[in-house]
Amino acid sequence: MRRKPQIAFFWLSVLLVALPFLTGAALGNSWVRVLDFALLYVMLALGLNIVVGYAGLLDLGYVAFYALGAYLYAWLASPHFGVHLPFWAVLPLGAALAGLFGVLLGAPTLRLRGDYLAIVTLGFGEIIRIFMNNLNAPVNITNGPQGINLIDPVALGGFRFAGTQQVLGVSLPSTYLFYYLFLAFTLAAIFIAMRLQDSRIGRAWAALREDEVAAAAMGVNTRNLKLLAFAMGATFGGLAGGLFAAFQGFISPESFNLWESILILCMIVLGGMGHIPGVILGAVLLTVLPEALRYIGDWQRHAFGHVYVDPSDLRMLLFGLALVLMMVYRPAGLIPSRQRKREFAAEDGVAEQEQASLYDARG
């Protein structure tokens, strides 16, 4: 019995290593690119999960941190400013900048109730996007809607991730190389997220999420912990942003609109807020399914000789439907954590009511 987890772990590792080859052989190399994005979204979803799932703060401007990481990477490693810092130096800078902005944004808003926070973060996301779009004149900082291209390819100690490389006698295209790079970061992110959840901080976040007044009464420093959640989530976002910029070699404000934030939120809601396996599943599903949706277009062309409904138009519609249906019928997600399930199943939110009456008494 005791060996079972280790055996499972072994096979999982084999699967993860072999996955791009299996995918490439079965579905073609374009799907390996989808895998890369799936890993990127797993990182993003894990980051947002810290804010929304652990600490219970609804952040709708998460993509702003992603954008900050990506733009910092583009500024410091492209011909745009003529600065070419190495990958390993820029990435932490991007993550740190995003974390700093997380604190700056969080500090004034965390005194407020959750739904106000949602709107403020939403507004922040939009502000960042407007600035990205317009800061190309009189001083060209973001290059406006055209975005920044020719971002330096990733190189680690002389090993370049662009183009096909020979590794141990196997020739690997760049999407494969990025898969392993992203896999390493994703595994680290999962590890950090797991350790955080089980730590003293993670338990304080859970307390805060469930009943802030009670948590404060137990000596939880609610303000600092909320700020920490915000900063941690933002750091994950900034890191993923840097990786995204390095991977694409090109960024523009297009990639960082509100729907991206909502998409990441959908991932964690679908999978199960606050539960790491659920979040991973949600992120993978919502990256892979839209790609699979493309076949609907082919199918229409095949059946009617014409594409009536563009699958990419359907994509967001289905996400919206999924959000509503999940919340109404399975609010704890596809793979909920045991704790969450109980929270959502509580008959009429006893804790909520008590909390509300407390506020009334104080106000």
Binding site: L60, G114, I119, G123, E126, V139, L317, V328, D348, G349
Partner: protein, 309 residues
């Protein structure tokens, strides 16, 4: 031409539209403490439905006067939006009334996405232009220009707001709404049908949104499936500025936000030495929102202080 007066007029016109939309947010928030994210999208649907009706009528009866055609569009858009809001409340919000706070907020976002994309499938991705069939005379006012349409927008908005004020203060339904806003439980004990009051609140807000949608598309001369998002956010900011849950506050906040935006867009170039231009107009609403939330979360006229949870 006096730029200050001109921007003031533009701001008041835009602000009265914001106020109409803000009322929908504030009424729903006052009763359910729910940010009805989909409200901006309801506004957009109002504009789109009206434009479809206007297009049909212009094709079927080209001799009809423009004002009549637009009026017909509005009269179809209002019940369409009311029905839509009724359905949204019933299907997406009511089942979650006792769920944790996050849940209805997430469904609200979901509904918003659904409406936006449904509108995109129905009316397409491109801008729908508002036909130029309304009288366009311009008048001089304190050294600035004001068009017939602008006068009509302000007048109509004020009229509707006065009507709403009477409805809330003087009628039986209005009293039930105020009672429900204070306490759902006690209102129910007093014989108020809370579910029906909540439905009515959504439906009334949607009717105002429909009018606002037509006005805003007439003002800008176009409509777009994405127009509801920014309009909704700004209107929500206006509601917070005035004090969310407070009806007079929403009106004041809307007008004020319109003026801030117009003046800000008019002068930001001079203030920053040309570094930032008028395309930053959309940023002001968010800065106002953040400032209000930080400095005075209860808004200008609100009494209840936003609590911390």
């Amino acid at each position: 031409m006096d730029i200050f007066t001109q921007q003031l007029i533009n701001g008041l016109v835009l602000g009265s539209i914001y106020a109409l939309v803000a009322l929908g947010y504030t009424m729903v928030y006052g009763i359910l403490e729910l940010i009805n994210f989909a409200h901006g999208e309801v506004t957009m649907i109002g504009a789109m439905v009206a434009l479809s009706v206007i297009g049909l009528l212009m094709g079927a009866a080209p001799d009809l006067p423009g004002l009549m055609v637009v009026l017909a569009g509005v009269l179809v858009a209002i019940p369409a939006c009311m029905l839509l809001a009724f359905a949204i409340e019933k299907m997406a919000y009511r089942p979650l009334r006792k769920a944790p706070r996050l849940a209805p907020l997430i469904t609200a976002i979901g509904v918003s996405i659904i409406l936006q994309n449904a509108a995109m499938l129905i009316w397409g991705r491109q801008y729908v232009s508002f036909p130029r069939i309304l009288p366009e005379a311009r008048h001089e006012l304190f050294g600035a220009h004001i068009t017939d349409l602008q006068i009509a927008i302000v007048a109509l908005s004020l009229l509707i707001m006065a009507g709403l004020w009477l409805l809330v203060q003087k009628t039986r339904l209005g009293r039930a709404m105020r009672a429900t806003a204070q306490s759902k439980e006690v209102a129910a004990l007093m014989g108020v049908n809370v579910d029906r009051v909540i439905s009515a609140t959504f439906v009334i807000g949607a009717a105002l949104a429909a009018v606002a949608g037509v006005l805003v598309s007439a003002y800008y001369g176009l409509a777009h499936y994405y127009m509801g998002f920014l309009l909704g956010l700004k209107a929500f900011s206006a509601a917070v500025l005035g004090g969310i849950g407070n009806i007079a506050g929403a009106m004041l906040g809307g007008l004020l936000l319109g003026v801030i935006e117009a003046l800000g867009a008019g002068y930001i170039g001079d203030l920053t030495g040309g570094f930032l231009g008028s395309h930053y107009q959309d940023v002001f609403a968010f800065f106002v929102l953040i400032l209000v939330l930080v400095l005075r979360p209860s808004g200008l006229l609100g009494e209840r202080v936003a609590s911390r949870a």
